[in-house]
Symmetry: C2
Subunit: 352 residues, 2 copies
């Protein structure tokens, strides 16, 4: 197991859409953690290039996260209706909206690439791959990790043969890794990470990686004490110089500011810092991923270019204000020391 070989129980969360870079992944692995690449939104060729570049910068293990595709839409009407409500935004920004389209993010090409030239860990988000996909990757020499947000999804992933479960609590920034993006499932905002750790541990003995709202060594210590083998951190790395985070996004991460979940930017539920776009369009946004992602892409690009935080999807976990501006390796080392101290302090206080 890769998790047993890490000198530091810290896994980089895959941050698709810009923040993840080969340099960032390599830096985390070089510091003793597990660096991750994000296949989402990349072509298979671009992914192959990122893998080659990251591998050239580290001898440590690397992981790659792949989006499991959904189903083509039954009707284009909800997206067209949403697009109509965004025309004024596009006019103000001086751009045209993107053409909404369904695609599978080059699913087969990415699987083929990773079967031929596997990384030590392949993780999946947005669903549980078929058992055949999991078995093929394992046969090629890769561990298979599956992201889950509910105890039921955890049981499904375990039954399909996953080696490790990545538990994503409701605190997490970015897209929810839910198998189904069903508004009725999210009445309570989803399971908090600590709840999920307890509930899933009662149903499986698989190794667990804990993700969502972890920005400090104390947070890492907490999930290890709850039985996780490692913590997965994403937002905490957004201010490192190795990350490709847009400046407008970095500024928002560093400040305090409430987060909320929305489908306004991509048609799939995701947590970000509340801004004007989210507040004004959340109620109108349909469940339609990746169609809405493509629809709003030019708006978000215009917001990043103009440093306008109100047009950008400011993905962030609940503790984003605790993110530190440090080189990634220094951050890994600092977090590990904090976590170790927190665990030792709690263990000795409670052994009194």
């Amino acid at each position: 197991m890769i998790l047993e070989r890490l000198s530091v129980p810290i896994v980089l969360a895959p941050l698709a859409g810009g923040p993840t870079t080969p340099r960032l992944a390599a830096a985390v692995s070089n510091a003793g953690g597990l660096g991750f690449l994000a296949a989402g939104y990349l072509t298979a060729d671009a992914l192959a290039d990122q893998i080659a570049r990251a591998a050239a910068m580290t001898e440590g293990p690397l992981g790659v996260n792949v989006f499991v595709p959904g189903r083509p839409p039954v009707s284009a009407d909800p997206v067209a209706a949403y697009a109509a409500t965004l025309e004024a935004e596009a006019d103000r920004a001086g751009i045209g909206l993107g053409a909404p389209r369904f695609d599978d993010d080059q699913w087969e090409a990415k699987l083929a690439l990773l079967a031929v030239d596997p990384l030590p860990v392949t993780s999946f988000t947005f669903g549980c791959p078929d058992q055949a996909v999991i078995t093929a990757l394992q046969a090629a020499g890769s561990e298979v990790w599956v992201t889950v947000t509910t105890p039921a999804d955890a049981q499904q992933a375990a039954a399909a043969g996953a080696d490790v479960l990545v538990l994503q609590g409701s605190e997490a920034g970015g897209h929810r890794g839910s198998f189904r993006d069903d508004p009725a499932d999210n009445a309570g905002g989803g399971f908090g990470l600590l709840s999920l750790l307890q509930l899933v541990r009662a149903r499986t003995d698989l190794p667990l990686v804990a993700a969502g709202g972890i920005s400090t060594g104390a947070g890492i210590a907490a999930v290890l004490a709850a039985g996780a083998a490692a913590a997965q951190l994403g937002t905490a790395f957004l201010l490192t110089p190795e990350a490709g985070t847009a400046p407008v996004h970095q500024a928002a991460i560093a400040a305090s500011g409430d987060t909320a979940m929305t489908r306004a930017f991509t048609g799939r539920l995701a947590r970000g810092i509340r801004n004007r776009f989210m507040i004004e369009h959340d109620a109108d946004a349909p469940v339609a991923y990746p169609e809405v992602h493509y629809l709003t892409a030019p708006l978000r690009a215009a917001g990043r270019a103009a440093d306008d935080p109100d047009l950008v999807n400011l993905w962030a976990g609940e503790t984003h204000e605790l993110s530190r501006e440090l080189p990634a390796a220094d951050l890994v080392t600092l977090l590990a020391a904090e976590a170790r101290a927190a665990l030792q302090a709690a263990a000795s206080a409670y052994g009194r």
Copy 2:
């Protein structure tokens, strides 16, 4: 500090409305934790009686939780409109709806009682008392704990002179302890417990008690590792024989079943197991506490009497299915042993 004198870092959550009993509070204190009484919905005389009965059963410390009153409503119209949508429910149950009214839960009388005959700990929920109230209780010999759900509320409570902050994560069952019940604040379901621990610790050095979704020793170990001085558990005690939990509520707690937050039962946001009443009436329910509490009280009583889970407010934290049917003292002892083992295991694994 009371927290430093506990042999077990477990605090009973106050479970107003039936589950909390003097026997339950005394049993937790006798096992080395901190038992809590719940002043909510009781008259000051009934509270005095419960305090006397609990104190007669334990030499250990006890706490009492008091609801901070809100403001009288500006208009009765939203409650009247909601009442109209519930008439069919009342007819089916063969009862009349309750008369909605505002009251302050005998705030002054309870404060007077607790100033004359203080318990070691007085905690508050639904708001931050004025500094004068806090100072008076401290002068009478009681520690003052304030329940908070956001970093901003934590800062306000610290500035008002609270001795301890009780952090309630979004995983918690029952009412949210928010200072303001504002639908706009809850877009993301509120802060998860682990996020709240990290964010509040960055803003204050006050001792923290962690509440919300903790049902196992691993969960307790996690919050201690994150820096909490103790864990507060409520749902975990609902199946103990000392608790006054209604049978229909007990049955729901013991089964798996999704929870969600709703104002349908009381006019204030609270987490419970999803049932027909919640699903059908959530969207119609106004922010109006305690008016809606009184409005639905006969319906809920009828549901309890008829063992009808679809009419009852099945308050429950996210991990309710992990609650164990054990005498309260045995549960405290078991949880403490589990927590100690979890902390020691994590500390030694990570010291390798």
